[in-house]
Assembly symmetry: C2
DNA sequence: TCCAATATATCGGTTCCAGATATATCCGTC
DNA sequence: GACGGATATATCTGGAACCGATATATTGGA
């Protein structure tokens, strides 16, 4: 079988282009945006985010989300790491989009144009 | 940078769908068909063909191409391994095409539709 | 009180692409 | 006739990415 989901980096960058999100929210956002077709597990997402942060494509900020009853306790509470796109990440996203379009044109040179030109008239 | 060329298997199957070819001819065919954009080196092609043959997606036949002056000699002469698509390989190709179209739709759900709907009117 | 959902993170296996290397033959040129 | 470039097949090694499993801890509802 062909690899089902390859361009995870493009997808993650594109959802972060709209607004900052934390890791788990990125997962859920991708699921809803793709109507459940694309599921990015933690084993894929977190190494990817780590790499994106290392390369300066995203910037991250910790946010301590503590419940009301835990607000006074020494426990660190639930923590969220918010990721936002840097200008470098935006450029990378545009590179991705360009590469995607080029890839589509390339493949269509072999398999013929897809059913994209037809107007969706009811 | 995004991975430039991913769907090598799809491309190889698609060129074999038109006619049987031997390995080196596949390389050249892909280069001409893609206007030089896609180059599949031997380090990619031959392991791929081996896997495709093992999985029954292509069938191979050796062809001894001997020159006139070498026709009588014990030397094996130049050999070509012709690959042709099996029915299973044709089904796989259609799977690939379907998966490609689905992948394009999926990505467009994140980055918006590409410039495909516009007519190329001069 | 228990359990599912939330939230982050790592590890190992698999697959694939890419470049380098190896071997051998054919053909045009000098 | 010798040489080199194109033809032709093949392996190896490294790197990058995806995937599933696993681990830990918190939160909130039944």
């Amino acid at each position: 079988m062909p690899r089902p989901q390859d361009p995870v980096e493009l997808v993650v960058l594109s959802v972060l282009a709209h607004e900052p999100l934390y890791g788990y929210a990125i997962t859920k956002r991708i699921e809803t945006r793709s109507s459940g077709e694309l599921a990015v597990g933690p084993g894929v997402l977190y190494p990817l985010l780590k790499r994106l942060e290392r390369d300066g494509l995203v910037a991250a900020t910790w946010d301590a989300v503590r419940s009301d009853r835990a607000a006074e306790e020494p426990s660190p509470g639930r923590r969220r790491k918010w990721y936002r796109l840097t200008p470098k990440g935006q450029r990378r996203l545009h590179q991705h989009i360009g590469a995607h379009r080029a890839r589509v044109r390339l493949i269509e040179a072999f398999i013929g144009p897809g059913p994209a030109a037809q107007e969706e008239s009811a």
